[in-house]
């Protein structure tokens, strides 16, 4: 009964080709470890992410872009900024801090 089951995720970086892919892989690792079955994980560039973020439950992005997601946050999307996109530990902690993981 993981809290994150069926939730939709967006991972987002500047170009949507390098860093966001790494973030997506880190996320898949973390969700597997937590035993979560996510609804959908989408990765994209910040230009697209700024407008589509509100369609997702949870958004992961790098710290510098988190501030661009205010509009989505106001609509209830949880926006989590990461310093190290490859750190499963940091990502897991971010989910925990947001009350999304035990």
């Amino acid at each position: 009964m993981a809290k994150l089951d069926n939730k939709t995720f967006l991972v987002c970086c500047a170009n949507g080709a390098g860093t966001s892919l790494m973030m997506k892989m880190t996320l898949e690792k973390v969700l597997k470890k937590l035993g979560v079955k996510p609804g959908r994980i989408h990765h994209c560039a910040i230009s697209e992410g700024k407008s589509s973020a509100s369609q997702f439950n949870i958004v992961f992005t790098t710290v510098n872009f988190a501030g661009m997601m205010k509009a989505a946050e106001e609509k209830g999307t949880v926006v989590l900024g990461l310093k190290n996109v490859m750190s499963a530990a940091e990502m897991e902690q971010a989910l925990r801090n947001a009350g999304l993981a035990d």
Binding site: N15, A17, L21, M22, M25, A45, T62, V63, N64
Partner: protein, 159 residues
């Protein structure tokens, strides 16, 4: 299947330099081996520089690793690949939003036009970037043989 490091050596996508004048110069040089065999156009690096100037040094990770890249299907990219460069003297990309200086000695510059190959490259690079002993050994590398030896001495963990 060949590992990313083996492919870098096989395709001669490497460069070893002592120092560079700026991070912009570093990005240009890191793409030079990709330019040499027609993987990317000579001005491809400029797109990467523009991106970093616009969004900050987000391509610089921990442990002196930089992964300069543009978007998938960027113009001027003809083959998917990775240009490796080791610089002896650290290259500063300036400070991030927390005021922390971002520095790199190892460059893995991405060119992507085939999504499957690119995904495989990224997946493998994560294994490299998370292996600090391997990164330390690569920072000491001076020849392509050193790259291969580093990988044998510090194998990438699969998970």
């Amino acid at each position: 299947m060949a590992s990313v490091l083996q492919t870098i050596v096989e395709k001669k996508h490497y460069l070893f330099v002592d120092k560079v004048d700026s991070w912009q110069e570093a990005v240009r040089l890191s793409a030079e081996s990709l330019v040499a065999d027609g993987s990317v156009d000579a001005d491809y690096y400029q797109q990467i520089v523009n991106c970093i100037e616009k969004y900050g040094p987000y391509v610089v990770f921990d442990h002196y690793v930089a992964m300069p890249h543009s978007q998938e299907n960027a113009s001027g990219v003809h083959k998917t690949g990775i240009g490796f460069m080791r610089v002896k003297e650290e290259v500063s990309f300036g400070k991030d939003e927390d005021g922390e200086e971002k520095v790199a000695k190892l460059f893995f510059t991405l060119a992507a036009c085939n999504p499957d190959e690119h995904l495989n490259n990224i997946q493998q690079l994560m294994g490299v970037f998370c292996n600090e002993e391997l990164l330390d050994a690569l920072m000491e590398a001076n020849t392509p043989e050193d790259i291969l030896a580093a990988e044998i001495a510090h194998p990438i963990e699969e998970d």
